[in-house]
Symmetry: C3
Subunit: 285 residues, 3 copies
């Protein structure tokens, strides 16, 4: 993408303590995996799963070097957050996923915990999945945060509402998070679809998410990975247009021109940025 | 509900000066009634209806002690607000309903008027039903306000828009009010359905409202009360789960534990709060 | 409308440098036209089109004195903005349309450029059509801005999203802009429909926009003008009601009364304002 962040069309969650599932994760070739210490691991297994997460991260990097690997720690207000940050993060990770982030103070606490753990180089991906998180998304979704996901299930539970297949109950929050992410230069990943056998719903939701400006979608099962790629990969025509546009724009820049005509459109830096995002989503240099 | 506020699955409006309708109000067994001095009473009858409201409140408390009784006064910018607050509020009411609240200054004026009338103990339920009210809902929906309703008809009229059965024209405002209410710890009651013969629409809207996080729905006719209860009452299975979860959580708390595993989930204070809300909505202690 | 601003049920865009299309613009009798220097004119023709815009403005005023005429300049961050403001604005215009306005600083820059060009008397119509514009609509949509349009195509492109016929991907932004406009006393004009042969979509969208509080709709083709008028013109019954309500209200005002009963409703200044808006939309004095 335009700022060099790796694309996350698909972000597959795997319980950190399930070596069998971790080993299979590369098969569906997701853009990214997160090794989960939160929802995917029961309370009495959480401490032990930290070492598993480090072993798994090393194994995945060896098995699939192009795949981005994250670890999702437990939320800041749980008894596990500090230990997870201190003990579960391999230095070769792309970043850490922190669920239920609700304020800039939370982001500061993440930065501090990373520094304490000597992991300041890791990227930060936050979950926006509560009423407070949505309400403060404008403040949270700024550097140093690089990615976020919108967690519809937890948001609706926090609202005391009900999840429906219409997604009407989350349209406001899902739209607001996408807008905040765009303004802060953060890449937004769309909500999960819990029923992993319902391909039609997954594709429909991925198209909704893409229309709203999301760059990819959470996958709770490997079968959802190809569906995410189908929706979030630019078409060959879009890639070709972006490549030609950028070539013309960059050639003009060497002559000191900031704005050019291309295919009858005026091309300026914002359009060039969008073209770079298309190429990044297509994984073209 | 979690903070001890009585549940308002149904909030039935009855003109304060219609003793016949007031007398019938308990028959449908709504959780709450408000005796209306605003839309339900024509201008030339408003002053006289204040005494009716006091008589009616006493009568309803005798007839249906479990029913919450409110009086809805006229809006702050009308010539009736002060007199309504001074003369229409029986001290045994659950609270006062104030329509078209638009700012924290409005809330302060309500608090002051209650104190002047020696009614400081009454709860405050505000109507959010104008562009300004929606825009400032985050500020308004805080203590001492305990409940609110979203007034779709007046909001849309204030916008110069058109009400439709799709509810798309209010999805933004209705969602934003629900979020603000959740953040401020205020219980939100959903919009009216004007056509009281259209049960399907009422149920469909109640389900929409519940999905968004509303705790109940306005009723302009007794026939709507059982529909509201049908949608806003938790299922027996949900009640049973909440009861068992709370028992385990509170037992753990006696041992000094703040987080426990229950049915494979991690249970913490937010989940306990939701469980208490389920029991309150089911009217279980 | 209530503040004396001319109604804009239809706002037809015509490339400023296309004298043939300019000449035909009055035939569909739109409420307003804007002579476009932005999207409608290719980069190499933009400078030359400034003089065309001035000639066209004079010609349209002569041909259709009741039609409001605007010029849309290029956006503030383009190399053409200053020259457009200095050279393209006939003093007899209703106002200037500035696309992609994103901040109050942008509004201040427009005011300054109008003053520099000795065109301080022109009205300002801004395009809200980017993530930043939507996020700051509350601040932007205030006096001296009098009108705005919501630009769905550019907003979605800026979000990195996808336009769909469902309009779900813009419901949040379209609603938020309508609310901000209402609060700031700015008249909002709804998004374009790019396929000018699809009358059903145009009418459906116009009804959506009207429900949300928009006062009119952009037209990219003369065939869309009568469709906009069909949707945004009040019915005879609504006009009659507004006329009688205002007569009663103004008669009461001569007796010093601020609130009256009319047709069983309480009529106050906000209702009088809405009635005036209905008459203005119907083009009745």
């Amino acid at each position: 993408m335009s700022d060099g962040a790796p694309r996350l069309r698909s972000l597959l969650t795997v319980p950190a303590n399930r070596a069998d599932l971790v080993g299979k994760a590369p098969r569906s070739a997701p853009d990214a995996v997160f090794l989960d210490l939160e929802d995917g691991v029961p309370p009495d297994a959480k401490v032990g799963a930290r070492a598993d997460a480090r072993v798994a991260a090393v194994g995945l990097r060896d098995a699939a070097p192009a795949m981005q690997v994250f670890v999702r720690v437990n939320a800041l207000d749980t008894p596990w957050f500090e230990g997870d940050m201190a003990e579960a993060l391999d230095p070769g990770l792309t970043g850490v996923v922190v669920p239920k982030v609700e304020s800039v103070d939370d982001v500061a606490a993440i930065v501090e915990a990373l520094a304490l753990a000597d992991r300041a180089g890791l990227g930060i991906l936050v979950g926006i999945e509560s009423a407070a998180g949505v309400a403060r998304a404008d403040d949270i979704l700024q550097a140093p945060v690089r990615w976020c996901y919108f967690g519809a299930e937890d948001f609706v539970a926090d609202m005391g509402g009900v999840r429906t297949t219409s997604n009407q109950e989350v349209l406001y929050a899902r739209s607001r998070v996408a807008l905040a992410a765009r303004l802060g230069g953060v890449h937004a990943v769309d909500q999960i679809v819990a029923d992993f056998r319902d391909d039609n719903r997954y594709i429909h939701e991925a198209e909704e998410g893409r229309a709203l400006g999301y760059r990819g979608k959470l996958c709770i099962h490997p079968a959802q990975v190809p569906l995410a790629h189908e929706v979030f990969t630019p078409s060959p025509a879009a890639v070709d247009h972006a490549r030609r546009l950028l070539a013309a724009y960059e050639e003009a820049a060497t002559r000191g021109e900031a704005t050019i005509a291309f295919d009858g459109e005026m091309v300026d830096e914002p359009m060039a940025r969008r073209a770079r995002a298309v190429l990044a989503a297509a994984d073209e240099p």
